[in-house]
């Protein structure tokens, strides 16, 4: 796209550069109509709410309703997190988002030897239905929407949520929320997998089927680029791998006999918001357009709702610095601005202290206020897609799209995403990009304020949240009591039924998992049974 505009605007003196995005994409000095000669308004953009949805999925966008401000939180025991939830709801947050601790994410109970040192650290400890009941105590599940970040054991945690709703008398048809349930990006980037790809994909297809029949307002998957980006990918890789993961889920569901138009409207997406404002905005705009094309042209969907890409955004944790942490408030604000200018449906803003620990209540409060300032003070919500028609943004959006189709061609040639993962392709692409980025920082081609430039020798310490070590003791004690008081005969029966269902071809696993949960069978017990049938995934070391 290099062009010489110097005869028009003069040679001028420029800094040395390089002038590249945070992903390393070269940027021109100036963008003009010559950069988008073939841009066709109807075909490439469309009005907001019209195909291909480049400009947004609703005609009114934020004039209709602001995005959902959804702060991800969870730590300690279920009682500790329930208190934080009550605080966030009281301060104007609209939806809940649960962070589980690592043992739960890995399908282990808090008293498992592997869980030592990890209980309640990175999220809330949930071992059984009893913990889930405490987590949502006093919160009517038919009135709020809840997002749960869980992947390998998503079927189990979703079942616990459904049973809590059942006990509250909340009808499943009224429940709104999301389970992340995206195992492909776990193999690619975040690495909290348990089972091998094939049984894992089967469990996900089971949730699509179960959800569309029984919990129709629930997003049964949040296809996530967030973690791919955090693992060090470029913006383009984040977008391409995520959308292709979407293709892979549809392929698997279709092969198992589901009608794409039945479940596709419940597919949702989750993207990162990094520092490079315009690159990120282009990414979100391109995402909607590409997804529309995939769903209508590749899968021939008839339901218009199948082709609409709805997404959640989280600001980039990996962009935050431990040095001069208050600067992180500014980084997060810029990233949140990108998400909103890109038309996000919901947003999590990180807290300033998250490179050091889980956030304090004070830091989490500032993060939520950042969103409220964008919504109520900045004026950016007055019109839909305010940057539509910018020569620069439209060029970046087209380039992002082109880059994705190129990646899709390579992934198709490999036989799809599961096959590509087995070959280590996306993993290697991300490793290379993250190493390149680190080197660019060390060469000072990329400046990180407070890290490789504008450094302070002495910094005042800041207060961080300490997870008190007594959490483990309390959680393990509750678990011991539960195992003593529940009907263990019933637990054994439900686990036996679960084993049988898992070993039988083409049986939806949700009903037997729900039965386990109702009997207070623990997450660790359920996962151990599934591991004994499905096996475990071992990552090849690249």
């Amino acid at each position: 796209m290099a062009k010489d505009v110097s005869d028009r605007v003069g040679k001028g003196v420029e800094r040395t550069g390089p002038f590249t995005t945070v992903s390393g994409v070269p940027i021109e000095r100036l963008y003009t109509p010559e950069d988008i000669p073939d841009l066709d308004y109807e075909k490439d953009l469309g009005d907001p709410g019209q195909p291909p949805y480049t400009r947004g999925i609703y005609p009114t966008m934020y004039r209709g309703k602001h995005w959902t401000m959804r702060q991800f939180s969870g730590f300690g025991t279920a009682a500790d997190t329930n208190e934080r939830f009550q605080y966030l709801l009281k301060h104007g947050q609209d939806g809940l988002s649960v962070a589980f601790h690592l043992p739960t994410l890995m399908g282990l109970d808090s008293d498992d030897p592997m869980s030592e040192g990890e209980v309640g650290k990175c999220g809330v400890a949930i071992d059984s239905l009893a913990d889930m009941e405490t987590l949502f105590k006093g919160i009517p599940l038919d009135k709020i929407s809840t997002s749960m970040t869980t992947n390998a054991p998503a079927t189990i945690l979703w079942s616990m949520y459904l049973v809590v709703a059942e006990k509250q008398g909340a009808h499943w048809k009224k429940l709104r929320g999301t389970i992340q349930n995206d195992i492909l990006k776990e193999y690619i980037a975040q690495k909290t997998y348990i089972f091998p790809p094939r049984p894992s994909m089967k469990l996900i297809v089971d949730t699509f089927e179960f959800g569309s029949k029984h919990v129709p307002q629930w997003n049964t998957i949040s296809i996530s680029g967030y973690h791919i980006r955090e693992a060090g990918s470029t913006a383009l890789q984040e977008l391409a791998f995520t959308l292709y993961d979407g293709i892979e889920y549809i392929e698997w569901a279709r092969r198992s006999g589901l009608d794409v138009d039945e479940f596709a409207p419940r597919l949702s997406f989750f993207f990162n918001a990094h520092n490079d404002l315009f690159e990120e905005i282009a990414k979100y705009r391109a995402a909607r357009k590409i997804w529309y094309k995939i769903v209508t042209e590749r899968f021939h969907c008839k339901n218009p709702r199948s082709a609409i890409l709805r997404f959640h955004t989280q600001t980039a944790g990996c962009s935050l610095t431990a040095q001069q942490p208050y600067n992180n408030i500014v980084r997060t604000a810029i990233q949140a601005l990108a998400a909103v200018l890109g038309g996000t449906q919901s947003l999590h803003t990180n807290s300033l202290d998250e490179t050091l620990a889980l956030p304090t209540e004070h830091a989490a409060g500032i993060a939520l206020r950042t969103q409220q300032i964008l919504a109520h003070e900045s004026g950016i919500t007055n019109t839909a897609d305010p940057l539509g028609g910018s020569y620069f943004v439209e060029r970046l959006t087209l380039d992002m799209e082109k880059g994705c189709w190129d990646y899709f061609e390579r992934l198709d040639a490999m036989g799809g995403m599961v096959a590509a993962i087995e070959k280590g392709f996306p993993q290697r692409e991300i490793n290379d990009a993250s190493y390149e980025y680190q080197k660019a920082i060390e060469r000072k081609e990329k400046i990180i304020v407070g890290v490789n430039e504008f450094v302070m020798d002495e910094e005042p310490p800041i207060d961080t949240l300490l997870i008190d070590e007594s959490v483990t003791g309390r959680q393990v004690e509750q678990l011991r009591k539960l195992r003593e008081t529940r009907d263990n005969g019933r637990v054994r029966q439900t686990l036996e039924a679960l084993r049988e269902a898992a070993a039988t071809h083409n049986v939806n696993m949700m009903p037997s998992i729900l039965d386990c949960v109702r009997a207070y069978t623990t997450l660790g017990e359920i996962c151990a049974t599934l591991r004994s049938v499905y096996g475990v995934y071992e990552e090849p070391i690249f």
Partner: protein
């Protein structure tokens, strides 16, 4: 120093955040070290076993889950039991300031926090490794 420095890069803890471990493993390789990356979710026993088997000069632990104050002291104890006192252990990850003195007390040579450059880490290892 004619022989290559042998480094184990290990990832104890339940989390899967291997970006840092992989970047540092590659930086060590580019610096001419012999690098063995253990993969994820290694128990303290597995880490020490790898150090022993591979005749390591250095063990680099990457911990981002918050479990470092459980895992690192246990690894250091096992290292002592196996008489691996001459193996240098360095730790990287999300390690709050207040934990650094405690880690050093139990024998960790150095702790690298977020933002540390690979050049500094490579230089530290080169200068401080005790070749057998």
């Amino acid at each position: 120093m004619s022989e290559k420095i042998r480094v184990i890069v290990a990832k104890p803890g339940l989390d899967g955040h291997d970006r840092g471990a992989k970047v540092i493993a590659r930086a060590f390789r580019d610096a001419g070290f012999e690098v063995i990356y253990t993969g994820l979710r290694q128990t303290p026993e597995q880490v020490v076993h790898a150090a022993l088997q591979e005749d390591a000069d250095v063990v680099g632990l990457s911990v981002l889950s918050g479990a470092h104050m459980t895992l690192c002291p246990r690894i250091m104890d096992l290292m002592k039991k196996e008489r691996l006192d001459d193996v240098m252990v360095v730790v990287g990850g999300i390690i709050p300031d207040q934990d650094i003195p405690k880690l050093k007390e139990c024998g960790v040579a150095q702790v690298f926090q977020p933002g540390a450059s690979t050049e500094d880490i490579v230089a530290y290892v080169r200068q401080n490794v005790r070749k057998k």
